[in-house]
Each structure stands twice: as structure tokens, then as C-alpha cells.
Symmetry: C2
């Protein structure tokens, strides 16, 4: 093979916000597949906020990336060589194949992808982990009903755009929250949310106007001042889907109470019979992938599901793009095209 395997390694654990120097590029020979293994040429890499947790060795739900190890991440690509009867060269596949151009992986850890249904990169977003996250969180916790008011933070992001559109398809009134006029216009005009509020403006005043009767479901991606504005507005029997709190990933990664900023007084949870529940999609989400994919493809066909990708070209740009993701600089699902 003429190409080397370009990789992005974790060089050191970030102090606060990650910087370029926390990553390191490496070039290594392309590996060969052993028995039952497949060599994959990654075409797109998904960048997602959870990766900040993997860079830290604070206790969390998954093991951290080793220092000097390849950064973890989902990719889509095609099979180059296979020593497994289930895969043949040219097959399109998805898997947790890391920030690298090539990888050798056990066949059982790959999922075949049908690119006649949607683009290859869509399998990292609307049909991938972020979309699955949105669907699982609404199925299991949010349970939006027709006529209810659903608020989605980080509404133009990979998870938020799907969560809002699923809720909308179920007949809910859906209010997005995003940063800046361009994202808000996209969420309202392109994705079809009922409104989208700019959290850089006076969020309380905007919520007063758009949610005068309160909020039934809040999809939490961000924490911080957005959570502060939304939490007191729950209606009785409201549900708070705890998907993430990106605003504190750099200040209190994987935080227990120690060092993390205080949260809301929990009294309203009793009085309003709220349910505040966290989930991690990898616990059981992939076991329901077929059902999820069928729902998504149905919404695509009916025209109820649109999405935006923010495609950055070149694996060597992944660290900078990821650093920007944690600051909200991406616009849509962030993917790296690995040339």
C-alpha cells in the first residue's frame, strides 16, 4: 500500500480547555488484518463532545484514552481487505475506528452501511450515535406528547437537531436554543422548529414570550446559564432529559460535586413531580439500532427530517475542529473528511 496510516494521538491530558499541543500526529505503516479481522479505510470521522471525557482520567462511565494512544471516535469508510467471510473489499461500514486513516478491527465490531438510503457521512450523524441518542432519550425519558412544549438546547447541534425534529413529528411544540442569529434562523427556517432562542441574548425574556405556560420536556445538552433559565419553568410532570452539560466539560470534566458549580435547588422536583434522568446511549441504544434506523428513514421519506453537517476536510484539522466544538464554533454535525 502506498499510503501510510495517519493517526491523531492523545499526547497529554488537557488542563481545562484542550489545546493543539494535547494532540500529536503520527504516521505508521498500514496494518494487515488477521483472522476474522477487517482492514478499513476511514472516510469520515465523527467529532463529538463526549470525547472530552475520554481525554481525562477522571472517573467516568468509560475508560480514558491512554496517553500516546489513538483518539477514540466513530468513523465510516470502506473495507480494503478482509479475512472474515462477512465482509468484502468495497463494503461500506461504520465502527468505533478512531481518529486515523486506516484501522484493523474484529469483524464483529463493524456494522455494514447501506449508502443507497443516505450518504455515508449521515451514518455518523442523523443515522449514527447522535441520532440514536436523540431517539433513545425521547423514547425512554422525554416521551413528548402532542401539544406539549419541548425545549431543546444546542438545537443546531448533532443531537439537538434530531431531538427537536422527532418531537415535532410527534406533534409537540418545539422551541430550540442556540448561539447566534445564523444558527437560530437555521433551526427555525430549515429544521422547522416553532421558534429558536439565542442564548447570547436575554434568554429569560425570550422564554417568557415563547413558553408563557411553561415547559413539559427539556433536552439538556449544555448546563450553565441555559439550565438556570429553563429549570424554574417546568410544568407539572415535566421531564428533563439529561444528555450532557457541555458548558462544564472543560471546567469540571466528569465532575462529581467537587469543583463543579452548584445546580438548581431540587425542591420543584417534588412539588412539580419532575423526572430528571440521565442516560448514555451506548448502554443499550445499539441493541435498538434497527428500530431507530427504520424510524429515521421513515421521517426522511416523509420530509420531516432534515440535517446539517459541518464538514472539515483533513484529519490533521481534527484537533482544531474538536477544540472549536467545545466552544460551540461548529454549525451542524461536525465530521472530518479524511482525504
Amino acid at each position: 500500500m502506498s499510503e501510510n496510516n495517519l493517526q491523531v494521538l492523545l499526547k497529554r491530558r488537557p488542563q481545562g480547555a484542550p489545546v493543539q499541543e494535547d494532540f500529536e500526529m503520527a504516521e505508521r505503516p498500514v496494518p494487515l488484518p488477521g483472522r476474522g479481522q477487517v482492514l478499513v479505510r476511514n472516510r469520515f470521522l465523527s467529532l463529538d463532545p463526549y470525547m472530552r471525557g475520554r481525554m481525562s482520567d477522571a472517573k467516568s462511565y468509560a475508560k480514558p484514552v491512554d496517553l500516546g494512544g489513538v483518539m477514540e471516535g466513530a468513523t465510516v469508510g470502506e473495507v480494503v481487505a478482509s479475512d472474515d467471510p462477512g465482509f468484502a473489499p468495497g463494503d461500506s461500514v461504520m465502527g468505533g475506528n478512531g481518529w486515523q486513516r486506516y484501522c484493523v478491527v474484529d469483524a464483529g465490531r463493524l456494522r455494514r452501511v447501506d449508502t443507497s438510503e443516505a450518504s455515508l457521512s449521515a451514518n455518523l450523524g442523523v443515522l449514527g450515535m447522535p441520532g440514536l441518542t436523540a431517539w433513545v432519550g425521547l423514547e425512554d425519558i422525554g416521551e413528548p406528547k402532542a401539544g406539549e412544549t419541548v425545549v431543546v438546547s444546542a438545537a443546531s447541534g448533532a443531537v439537538g437537531q434530531v431531538a427537536g425534529q422527532i418531537a415535532k413529528a410527534r406533534g409537540a411544540r418545539v422551541i430550540g436554543i442556540a448561539g447566534g442569529a445564523a444558527k437560530c434562523a437555521f433551526v427555525k427556517d430549515e429544521l422547522g422548529f416553532d421558534a429558536c432562542l439565542d442564548h447570547r441574548g436575554d434568554l429569560n425574556a425570550q422564554l417568557d414570550v415563547t413558553c408563557p405556560d411553561g415547559i413539559d420536556v427539556y433536552w439538556e445538552n449544555v448546563g450553565g446559564h441555559v439550565q438556570e433559565a429553563v429549570f424554574p419553568r417546568f410544568r407539572d410532570f415535566g421531564r428533563m432529559v439529561m444528555c450532557g452539560m457541555i458548558s462544564q466539560y472543560n471546567t469540571a470534566p466528569g465532575a462529581d460535586a467537587t469543583g463543579a458549580p452548584p445546580g438548581p435547588n431540587l425542591g420543584p422536583i417534588v412539588r412539580k413531580r419532575l423526572r430528571v434522568q440521565g442516560f448514555i446511549v451506548s448502554d443499550s441504544g445499539w441493541q435498538r439500532y434497527a428500530q431507530f434506523r427504520a424510524v429515521m428513514l421513515g421521517l426522511m421519506k416523509s420530509g420531516e427530517l432534515r440535517w446539517k453537517e459541518d464538514v472539515v476536510i483533513g484529519l490533521e484539522k481534527a484537533p482544531k475542529a474538536f477544540i472549536g466544538l467545545l466552544k460551540g464554533e461548529n454549525f451542524g454535525k461536525l465530521v472530518i473528511r479524511i482525504d
Copy 2:
């Protein structure tokens, strides 16, 4: 009838902790039942923390008691006169009959009580609203499993003692938290909890020893420094049953975020996939009363359910007893015997 109807009225809304002057005694003629109504002579009155909310006109899940109105509360007693075919003089009944000696009530609002199964007053505690609260909260939210660690705050109180014993009967390891050595000894030695921690001591040190591997279910009755100590100790997939937060009822009654002290950072809810859920027993609990009562009577017969009542004699002592309840001065389920 030779007796008058002694009543306790709400004279003014408390500022902070209620004081004797917020209440007023009244004597009125005993009323007569109209068509479909029953005259009840109340024998025991239940005093419960939720009543603090009814004294306030802050927005809450139930309407406040009117100024000058009879304080609300559950009672047990017997039928004196009836103009309804379903009840006859001498019948033992329970109902929401207020802080008063007599009341006339629509027959449909009374529940007949079988005193051969348990004492009359037990129907205000272990077989009444507090017991039902414990059972519903564990059925719907706590769901303790064999081998799990369950922590119950206000463990010697009306709800806590039942919640802990139900969890114990289901095979969980149950740790109580109570105020002072006498209550802790009672919870451990009489109720059979595995341990009971004194929240007046160093709760963190005691939790380190008794719950070294963390907590699966926390029954929240109190808030404040107890919540602070327990919250960071949840294990993955932990459940927090939000029954009440008595430590702030006098400082932030019916509080929204406004004026209430901050709570824990919510990050661990995501990372540990916690469920934090509130409930009010009156929403649907009474519809399941028969099932609950059967479970409780079963536990009584098998010797797995014990309970303690704190009986104060004389309706005129109800205000003082209630003021003490909010300070944790009662020991066991607080009831007033109305002589």
C-alpha cells in the same frame, strides 16, 4: 349534643417557621349531616410536613387553607349520625376531615376502616397516607432490588420508617439517617435497618464507612446538608426518590428557584445515568390503596413491619406539636388524640 365542635383555624400565614399565633382555636356548634352526608367524631388527627405548604399562599400543587378556615388534615374517627345508606353510627372511618373534633362530610369522601386488622390510629400512619407514600415511591421510582444499598433520610419518621422496612423486605441493605442517638438506636434495633447514621454528627465520615461502594436508592425527605452528603455517592443507575425537603419548608415554602438555596451540580445525573424523580401521593396513590393495604397487612403478619407513633393528647396541642414536627422534635408518626 352536649359537646361543641372544637376547631383549629389558620389565623395568619406564617413568616418562616410557624408560631402559635398563626393558629386560632374556635368552638362552634356541632353541624348536622344533610342528604348523603355523614357526621364524624374525629378521634385521631394526623400531623404531616405537607401541611406547612397549605399554610402558605405560594403556588403549589394544592390550594392553600383559607385564612380563618379549618386547618386541613387526615383523621380517623367514628360515625355519629348518617344520612347515607353506606354508613351507620359506630362505623370507623378515615378521611380528610381537618383539625377539628366533629365534621360533616359527603359519604363519598370517607373510607371505611377495619379496626380488627390494626389500631384506629395506624390508619393515619403505616396504613395511611405516609405508608402509602412510602410504598408508591418505592414501587414507581425507587424500585429497590435485593442486594442494593438504600439510604432513607428522616428514617424514624412516618414515611421513612415504612420506606426502609419495605426496602428491607425486598432484600436491600438499608441505611437510615436520623437526628440523635435515640432515634438512630430505634431505627437500627427496633425497625431492623442495617445501620442508622446521626446527621448531627459527621455524616460524610459515617457514609464512608457504611456505604463504601455507594448508594443505589436514596429516599429524600429532608434536603440540606443530608442531601449534600448523599448526592455525590450515587452508584451508576441510582434512583433518588424526591418525597420532600423538610429542611427548607420554613425558608422557601413551595419554592421555585427564587430564594431557595442552590442544589447539587447535575453533571453526575448524566454520567451515572441517575433518575431523580418527584411524586405526590395524592395524584394516583389512593387508587391503589387496596393493593397497598394488602402488602402492608402481609408484612405485619410476617413480623417485617413495625412502627412507632408519637401520640400527643388534646386537639389544642396540635399547633405546638406541628411546630415541633418541622424541627424534627417528634419521634415516630405524629398524631393528635382528640379527646
